[in-house]
Amino acid sequence: MNRTVTIGLTVNGNPVERAVEPRLHLADFLREELHLTGTHIGCEHGVCGACTVLMNGDSVRACLTFAVQADGAEITTVEGLGRVDDLSPLQQAFREHHALQCGFCTPGMLMTALDMIRKQIPPTQAAVRDALSGNLCRCTGYQFIVDAVVAVLAANVDTKEGDG
C-alpha cells in the first residue's frame, strides 16, 4: 500500500514528471504538486464543475480523475489560456459580458466552454445552457456566462486555445 507511481504528462505544453500516490486526484496534483492553483476545488465529487480541465482536449472533472490516470496525457488548465495582458478570446468575452463575479467557478466555466468550441456546440442559448449545466455558479445567475459563450461560439473564433 501507499507505494508511489511515477507519471509523466504534459501540462499546458510543459512536460512534467512526478512520483505520486495513486489516490492523489488530478486537481490536487495540479494545485499541490505543480502550484497551478487556477483549477479550483469545490465539491470533490463531480457535481460543481469548478475543477474542470481538458484532458487530451476533452473536458474532465479533475477531482474524479486520479493523477496516475493522466500518465501520458495532455492536460490544459486555465493557466494555459491567455495572460492578464493577453486574454484569450473566451476570457475576453467573459470580461466584456461581465460573466464573472467572485471568479471561483470561472476556470471551470472557461474549460467547459473550450470543449464546447471544440465539439462545435451550436451557438444557441439552449445548447449552451445544456452544455454548461454541469458547472455551478452562485453569483451571476448564469445569464452573462451564457451570453459570453454564445458570442464566442457565434463568432466561431479560430482560437489558439486548447493547444495549451
Binding site: 500500500m1 495513486p22 465529487h45 474532465v60 472533472r61 474524479l64 454541469g134
Partner: protein, 295 residues
Amino acid sequence: MKPPAFDYVRPTSVGAALAALAEHAGDAKVIAGGQSLAPMLNFRLLAPAVLVDINGIAELDYIRDDAGGGLRIGALTRHHRLMTAPAVCDRFPVLAEAMRHVAHLAIRNRGTIGGSLCHADPAAELPMMAVLLDATLTLTGQSGVRRIAAADFFQGALTTALAQDELLTEVALPALPPRTSWGFHEFSRRAGDFALAAATATLTASDRRAADVRLAVTGIGETPLRLAAAEAALDGRPVDAESIADAVALVRAAIHPMDDLHGSGDYRRHLVGGLVARALEDAWRRPRAQSGEPT
C-alpha cells in the same frame, strides 16, 4: 474528502486485467471512467486495496456492426461517443436521446457504458436502456465468457450478476424492428441529475395499430423494469387516451417505489405514469423511425 489509499495497476489487455482481479480476489475494484467510483472513494464509501484501471485496454473501446443491423459496443466506450456515434443515432435514436440525460458534458467525456451498467445505479439511464433494448452483456472471466440478458444482469440497487473476478467486456444491442418509433421522458430536479423517474418506449405502427411495444421505467425501485403487462395491453391498439390510460394503470400497479429524500413513493408512482404517457405519445406520433429501413 480525500480517498483512502489504494494500490494501482493499469493492465493493457483483458487477460492481464482478469489476472489482476484474481490476484486481489475480492479486494480490487475496476475503474473505467471513474465517474461513479471516484465519488464513492472520495466519500470513503469504498476502500479497495487495489484499483484495476482498464482505460489502457484499447481492445474494449469500439462500436461495431453486428449481424442484422445490431451493434456490439465495447465496455470502454465513453458516453459522449455513444451519444454521437452515427450508428447509434441512426439505428438507436432512443439511446442517443437517453444519453443526453446522462450527467454533464465532462462526465460524459469520461464515463463508460460498461461502468454505468456495472455500477447499476437504480436511477441511471443506461441500465434502463439496456433493458428496453434487450441488450446482451458479455461477462469475461479467467475460465471463459458468459452472456447474460440485461434483464437478468440487474439484481438490485448497485448489485449485478457480475462476479468479482469478471469483467463486463461487451454490450450487444439487437436491431430494432424496421420503422421502430420511440419516446423517452425523464424528470430530474436539475439538468444532469439522476432521474427522479424516467420512462422510455419503442413501438412500430401500421394501420393505426401498435405492435412490438416495449416499455421500460427507472427510478421506481432497485432496478429498471420492463413492463410486460402494459406492453401487452397496447399491442394491436392505437395509442390513444384510452390505451394509454390502461397502460399507465398497469404500470402503476406493477411498481412499488419507496419513499426517499427526493420524493414519496406515491409521488414517484404518479410521476412515472405521466412520463410513460408522454413516452408513448411521442413514440406514436414521431414520424418514420430511423431503424435502418429506407422510408
